[in-house]
Symmetry: C2
Subunit: 206 residues, 2 copies
Amino acid sequence: MSDPTKPKMSASKAEILDAAAEVFMTLGAEAASIDDVARHLGATKGRIYHHFPSKGALLAEVCLRAADFVLQKVPPVVQATALPADNLRNMILTHIPEVLRTLPYHKVIIQSYVGVQQKSTTAHERELFAQIQLERKAYESLFRQVLQAGMDDGSFRAQDVSVALQSLLLLINAPVFWYRPRDNEPEAFVTDLSVQLADMAVASLQ
Amino acid sequence: MSDPTKPKMSASKAEILDAAAEVFMTLGAEAASIDDVARHLGATKGRIYHHFPSKGALLAEVCLRAADFVLQKVPPVVQATALPADNLRNMILTHIPEVLRTLPYHKVIIQSYVGVQQKSTTAHERELFAQIQLERKAYESLFRQVLQAGMDDGSFRAQDVSVALQSLLLLINAPVFWYRPRDNEPEAFVTDLSVQLADMAVASLQ
DNA sequence: TTGACAGCATACTCAGTAGTATGTTTGCCT
DNA sequence: AGGCAAACATACTACTGAGTATGCTGTCAA
C-alpha cells in the first residue's frame, strides 16, 4: 500500500508524535500549543521544529499515523472465501483493540472528522492531508466491499450502502469517544467490548 | 425541566448564537475568533460582548441550545404504554430530523464530546457547562430507560447497558458527522434516512 | 585534530486575539 | 422636548503563541 511512506521513522520523532497525540487529545488540537507539547516532552520548541516544519504538519503526521495503525492490522484478516458476516466480525475484533491501544492518535483524528477545515495550510500540509484522505478512503472501501458482498448474497438486508457504511464506521469507533483505560480494568474487558460491538454491528445489518 | 432557563431570548442574541454555531462548526470552536463571528454577522466585537461575557460563555450557550433543541422535541413522543422498540423508533425518527435541522449547533457540541477540556474557565462558564452536562445526562437516561425496559421484557437482547447506550447514541448522531444539506436534495431524504437508521438501531439491539 | 553536521536549546519577532474602556446612535418613557 | 438606557461601534491594551535566527554540544568520518 505505502512502501515509500515508511522511511523508518527515528525514535525521537516517534516520541514527539506520541506526546503530540496525547496533548492534542487532552487540550484539543487547535487549543494546544507547540510549547505545550514541548513541555510534555521535557524539551523545548527547538526539538519539535527540528523534526516538523509546522504545527499543521505535526498534526497531519499524527493523523496519518492513526490511519496507519489500523491499516496495518485490519486488511490482513479479510479472507476472500469467508462469509461476509464472519469477515466483518473479524475486522471489528481486530479494529477495536488496535484503536484502543493507540487511543490518543484516534482521538485526534476524530477531531478532524468533525469537519474542521484548517485555515492557512502550506502546500506540504495539503499533501499530507490528501494522503490521509486517501488512506481513509482505502480503509472505508475495505468495509464497503464486505458490506456490498453481504447484501449481494442476501446475508445482509438491502439498504443504502453509503449510509450503512458511515453508520457502521462510527459504531466501531464509538469507544474512542468514551473509553478511558482503568488501572483496575479486567483482563478481558477490551475483548468483551469488541465482541459486544461486533454483535451489534452485524445485527444492525441483518 | 427548566422553567427559569427560558427567559425568552432576544432575537439579536439568537442571531449571534446562529452565527457562532456556523463559524464554530466551520473553523472549530477554539480556532475561531470572536472577530470571525462578528464578521460573519456583519458587525463588530462590541455587539457580541454586549450579550455574552466571554467567548467561553458564548460557546457554552451554543452547546446548551443544541441540547435544548432535542430535549424539547424527543421526550414528548415517549409513551409509557408503548413497546420499547416502538418508543425507540419514534425517538430516533424525531431526533434525527431535529438534529439535521439545527446541524451547526450539534457539530459544535460534538467537538466538545471528543473530550476537549476547557483551559481557564470562569465560575459562570463552569455553571453553564455543568448545566449542559445535566441536560445531556437527562437525555441519555431517556434512552437508557427505554433500553432497560426492552431488555427486561426480553424484546432486546441482554447485554451491557452502558456500552449499548453509548453506541446507540453515537449511531443516531452519525449523520452529524457526514450529512451536508444539498440544494437538489429529495423531499423525503431526511425522513428516509431517519427510517434507515431507526431500523439499524433497533436491529442492533435485538 | 578537525571540520562538519545532526540534534537540540535559547532568545528573539510579530501577527493575531481576548478582553476593556469609551464613544455614538436609537428607541422609549414621561 | 428631553433624558436615559439599551444596543451597538471604535479604539485601544496586554498577552499568547507560531515561527525564526542563532548558539551550543556531541558524534563521526577523514
